[in-house]
Symmetry: C2
């Protein structure tokens, strides 16, 4: 690495997500944390817009522009690569970068074949170059508070977790011709849990997946597909999209069984009208966190039964923050102009780049979480058949320790540094 303290980074993918992270997170790290040497997008206008944005930042130079990520890697050879491109491209880009010795952080998204994920793992094992799925929701405030409560035993033994990507994306999906968004082609062509990791990531960390536990099998079922078509017919009747058949079911329900006995239920729910929630839920023998109502229930050992039938705990989780907020969030103030979870996951990746340490979400986490998409596609197409989830660790999960469990690691972040940079006033 040219500069131990200030990695020179490259960015692939400057569409909605990439541009947003550059604007909200990355340019804030210039010039003291990183320099941005190059940007890449298959659409030159997007790369130019991103280069404009970066070039205008304080202390920044205008980065080089590319339309081919291989050229970016070969010519610029950055110290780290951020990948915000379309879902389909994440793993090919990551594998290419790793082979060049470039640590790579890639956006969330599911996989299209299990073989590609094995290739990702093999490439890591052969090159030793770290890669990390940039799953920002692992750094969410409520997710981290719940993780802490689980680690402190507040909820007892954890037996079931659930979550959903409940997000009305009909506008984005049906606008995919104008906005060049990869979701459109995915919703037309595929039928699966296409976006599992916002919920599965935090849950997997809580359940020690790949670190003493693992996901064994899953089943997945899809509802019919009516939401996107109905939306397009109503809102863009003259568009070709209004006559488009969508393979993607409106609601996908996936159930995962873990080696230690827990079940995980995931719901994809993106083409029907509703408000947003990830419905992150963790249930144990002594209590649980219920994301849809942002509430916590802790068993007090007394008998309640119907006494609690009418009781609403909606929103009561706020009352637990003083006692249980995760150390990272005690020192972090997202209202100060930082990007919330996006900032933290970016910092965590850069921390591992600077230190050459194992990323808090490593190649095995990334592969096993991304595998859910293709396995759910298989299960749905087989009528809901259970399908096996590969053990990408090849048995190493039986004795691995999670970096996020180390008391002073704070999930891959240097908490003292976070405190210094982003302390609450």
């Amino acid at each position: 690495m040219e500069n131990e303290k200030k990695p020179k980074v490259g960015i692939v993918g400057c569409g909605g997500r990439g541009y947003g992270v550059i604007r909200d997170v990355l340019i804030g790290l210039i010039p003291r944390e990183i320099s941005i040497a190059a940007v890449c997008d298959k659409y030159p206008d997007r790369a130019s817009a991103a280069a404009d944005l970066i070039g205008a930042a304080d202390g920044a130079e205008r980065p080089a522009e590319y339309t081919d990520y291989k050229e970016l890697c070969d010519i610029v050879h950055p110290d780290a690569l951020f990948v915000y491109s379309a879902w389909e491209s994440h793993f090919d880009i990551a594998i290419y970068a790793m082979k060049k010795g470039i640590p790579v952080g890639f956006e969330v998204g599911g996989a299209y074949s299990i073989e590609k994920l094995w290739e990702l793992c093999r490439t890591y094992e052969e090159t030793g170059t770290p890669c990390m799925m940039l799953e920002n929701c692992c750094y969410g405030e409520c997710e981290l508070m719940t993780l802490r409560m689980v680690r402190e035993g507040v909820f007892g033994d954890i037996v079931h977790c659930s979550g959903g990507y409940h997000h009305d994306l009909r506008y984005e999906i049906t606008g995919g011709i104008e906005n060049r968004h990869y979701r459109l082609r995915n919703y037309v062509g595929r039928n699966c849990e296409n976006y599992p990791t916002h919920e599965l990531g935090p849950i997997a960390k809580i359940l020690d997946i790949n670190n003493g536990n693992r996901m064994l099998t899953l089943t997945s079922m899809a509802s019919c597909s009516k939401g996107a078509s109905a939306y397009a017919a109503k809102n863009m009747p003259k568009s070709i999209v209004a006559r488009q058949n969508f393979a993607q079911g409106d609601v996908i329900t996936t159930v995962i069984k873990c080696a230690a006995g827990q079940t995980i239920t995931l719901t994809l729910d993106t083409t029907l009208p509703r408000t947003y929630t990830r419905a992150f839920t963790v249930r144990g023998t002594c209590g649980g966190y219920f994301g849809e109502t942002d509430s916590i229930y802790i068993d007090d050992g007394r008998y309640h039964d119907f006494e609690f039938c009418g009781e609403k705990l909606w929103g009561n989780a706020a009352g637990y923050c003083d006692r249980y907020t995760h150390p990272i969030w005690q020192n972090y103030d997202p209202t100060g102009g930082h990007g919330g979870m996006d900032y933290l996951v970016t910092e965590a990746f850069l921390e591992s780049v600077r230190n050459g340490s194992r990323p808090p979400i490593d190649v095995y986490d990334s592969a096993s979480w991304a595998a859910v998409s293709v396995l759910s596609e298989q299960s749905i197409s087989l009528g809901g058949m259970p399908v096996p989830i590969p053990d990408f660790t090849n048995g190493a999960w039986l004795c691995r320790d999670d970096i996020a469990d180390a008391p002073d690691s704070c999930y891959g972040l240097d908490n003292k540094k976070i405190a210094k940079k982003y302390r609450k006033q």
Copy 2:
């Protein structure tokens, strides 16, 4: 029938549920609506307690007591039989009564074999004697308001429904030796969605199951079983129950696929600490009802996306009551000392008995809903394999009309009569 207007009824099962319904609903119908000629329980003390209760009611005579339901049927030959006994006994008792020409309403609960449900259907077809599962939640205020909104098209095409029996029953289950409750033996010996109908009943009516639609297949997965054991170890360490292995997983997730493309997700969640909810949820292309937060979202045709990310609609369903309360509940005041849903479902059954009409929850509804328990047991034991759901109508679902759909039928109830008897003041 001896008296067209005043059926003479028998009651089988005088435990917690039976005694409760007698106390809260049935004695209120004496003497004008029914007479109670006989009660039966395998435990004589329970039958006596119920007979005492009934005998003390205004205008009532003390009923005869039996410990064998066959004797009750043969000797008393009531005009209608209510069955509140253990889950395992419902269908045998119903079949016996139907063969004697006695219309029978039985409490909710799942089945133990598919063959028994076929026998139930065959017996109905051979005898013409109606039977009805007394699924009170079909008459719930929010369930009926949602049904009305669906029928009026407010939510568009319905593509997914979900619900759960989220009820902390650890005290009742682990106390099964003292309270002689059938749940204990079921939780020790079985692992399945043992109580599907509180959610599935209202959902099935909304989705026209057995009346133009049907349930095709289901998959079911179970978490490990820790909740009941942990509770017993803590609260009754010296009891034999504390050393008991429970087969029943703490959380069971079942997904049902329907012929018309919808999915139904059911969750059984009865052995972990939490507050009560049935989480009844109905999702359509134009909006939905969300039971866990008692909220309604109706698409306004404008683009929201992240605008609604932080919005909480919790509890807003109350604002729709003026416009959409179901006619039954417009005329019904449960605060007047009636039993809420229990009263309505009892009235609906008695209405069909008096009129000789098809019950609003008929033998095919009862069989297909109860089938979910045994099919989920099979699916779980096969690692989550999809299993076919029998078509108990033998194809008749393609052209049956649901009695509950008739505009003036009000789900099997005579609404004018309800209004007269239970009108809100």
